[in-house]
């Protein structure tokens, strides 16, 4: 067999089985949380700061949409369909899926060295220069070099670290800070955030940041080769050969 043909069949291992499985489970759970969270917000599209807030108090801001409850003054002469029941059931079930998946991923990340090897930026990249250089590559629409076939660049690492270690913990914390039973056990979870309504408002903004991440993530996947990146996250390899094992 000629050498060239062998080269074509070389496959670069990109994502491990645990990363792929937890990625897609988290994606499904996140979509469920996003849709049901949106439905729950519609029942009271007013946000407050501090411990308490209701239609008799001043809102921090109001989303200008009709509500699914006729007790909320929205200025619209229309009440949206109420979807809170199943939305709440599914929201908390999906939250459990996300949290349990995160535990598996977190333990794997620590013990396999995934966090250390693939997510924490390389020591040489701990400079602003490294970030600017990679941004410049993006702006010039340069194809990523081969090193990025099997690992992440400094911008990806930073974004993923922020999502995994800042936004996800924060969305779980602010969610629990709204639970009257959970806060009876751990009042500080709510008090540290400024109260129940502050927790709700932060929960809303953090879900917005996660949605922004999802959007940018999908755009970047599309720009760097949608088919090959999707194949990598499904099969684990960037270059598929005919001989599937």
């Amino acid at each position: 067999m000629p050498a060239v043909s062998q080269l074509e069949k070389t496959r670069t291992r990109r994502h491990s089985g645990v990363v792929r499985a937890t990625h897609w489970i988290t994606f499904i759970a996140f979509m469920a949380l996003l849709i049901t969270g949106g439905e729950i917000v519609i029942s009271h599209p007013r946000f407050y700061w501090g411990e308490v807030g209701n239609v008799n108090t001043h809102p921090l801001f109001v989303i200008p949409i009709p509500a699914s409850r006729d007790t909320v003054p929205t200025g619209y002469n229309y009440v949206m369909p109420d979807q809170n029941g199943w939305s709440r059931y599914l929201h908390f079930e999906a939250a459990w899926v996300a949290v349990l998946t995160a535990i598996v991923y977190g333990l794997y990340g620590i013990f396999s060295g995934h966090f250390r090897k693939n997510l924490i930026p390389k020591r040489a990249d701990w400079t602003w220069r490294a970030y600017w250089d990679r941004i410049a590559l993006y702006l010039r629409r340069k194809r990523p070099d081969r090193a990025e076939d099997s690992s992440y660049n400094v911008l990806q690492r930073t974004a993923y670290l922020a999502v995994i270690f800042v936004l996800f913990p924060l969305i779980i914390w602010t969610g629990l800070a709204m639970s009257p039973t959970f806060t009876s056990a751990f009042p500080a979870t709510s008090e540290l955030l400024g109260g129940r309504q502050s927790a709700r408002t932060i929960h809303f903004f953090v879900s917005g940041l996660l949605l922004l991440f999802l959007f940018v993530h999908v755009v970047m996947v599309a720009l760097s080769g949608f088919r090959s990146r999707m194949r990598a996250m499904i099969t684990g390899n960037t270059r598929d050969s005919e001989e599937e094992r």
């Binding site: 909320v72 079930e93 459990w96 009257p180 039973t181 056990a185 709510s190």
Partner: protein
């Protein structure tokens, strides 16, 4: 088949077996220790059971969050109530002197209490937040007698597992587990913020369950049934809420 995929197959098989075994054990333990909520079947069952079981194990004996007097909301929001029935109007016209709370079921001495009877029992007050599942909330002082004092009066039989409560509104009822019913913060509220409990807020009698969301704290309570079998009530899911798509347990 090459060695790597065989090893993977073995690991996967062991992991799957451990997972299935673990789930079966968890289900057995959950049922044995009453950690499955009445609506714990169906597609949302696993999530509901996890939430209920975890919160129950964590917090069964812990008090609700309480607030300082200066945090009491100036303009609490009463939320909607159904138009009062003729019977309710009649009782209201009589100053609720004829309002009765009937307690029956698996109890030694079924009893009917007047509001005066309830007011002669130990009176507690709590400054707690009522939070609606929609997202809004307010803080108020609630004054009344703990449900546990009524339960002690009627003598709850040992097999009892749930306390079912009915309101003046037809087909509006709920239930809590026996531990929550005995919890010192579960209050038969008759007063609010140093006055009588106003009708829009559930007067003359509201069951206040501050460690769960507002929809568990039903207004106009007048009948309580202690039971060892929640399946006998309604569609068997512990309250009228699951029939409308809402979870029986509202600790989150």
């Amino acid at each position: 088949m090459n060695p790597i995929s065989r090893r993977k197959l073995i690991y996967g098989g062991v992991a799957a077996a451990a997972g299935i075994g673990g789930l079966a054990t968890a289900e057995h333990l959950a049922k044995r220790y009453g950690l499955v909520p009445p609506d714990g079947a169906g597609i949302y069952g696993p999530g509901e059971t996890l939430t209920y079981a975890c919160q129950k194990l964590l917090t069964t004996r812990l008090p609700a969050r309480e607030f300082s007097r200066d945090m009491i909301s100036k303009n609490p929001f009463a939320n909607e109530i159904a138009p009062p029935t003729e019977e309710f109007k009649r009782l209201q016209a009589g100053g609720f002197n004829d309002w009765r709370l009937t307690v029956d079921g698996t109890v030694a001495r079924p009893t009917s209490f007047s509001l005066a009877d309830l007011k002669s029992m130990p009176i507690h007050s709590q400054i707690t937040e009522i939070a609606c599942e929609e997202g809004w909330s307010y803080v108020a002082e609630w004054i009344g007698t703990p449900l546990s004092s009524v339960l002690n009066e009627v003598g709850v039989l040992p097999q009892s597992r749930y306390v079912v409560y009915y309101t003046v509104e037809k087909n509006l009822w709920g239930s809590i587990d026996i531990a929550d019913a005995h919890h010192p913060d579960t209050l038969l509220a008759m007063g609010m913020n140093d006055g009588e409990l106003p009708v829009p807020f559930g007067g003359p009698l509201r069951l206040r369950i501050p460690r769960q969301l507002g929809y568990k704290s039903l207004k106009f309570v007048r009948h309580i049934t202690v039971t060892d079998d929640i399946k006998k009530f309604g569609s068997g899911k512990g309250s009228v809420d699951p029939d409308y798509g809402y979870a029986w347990y509202a600790g989150i």
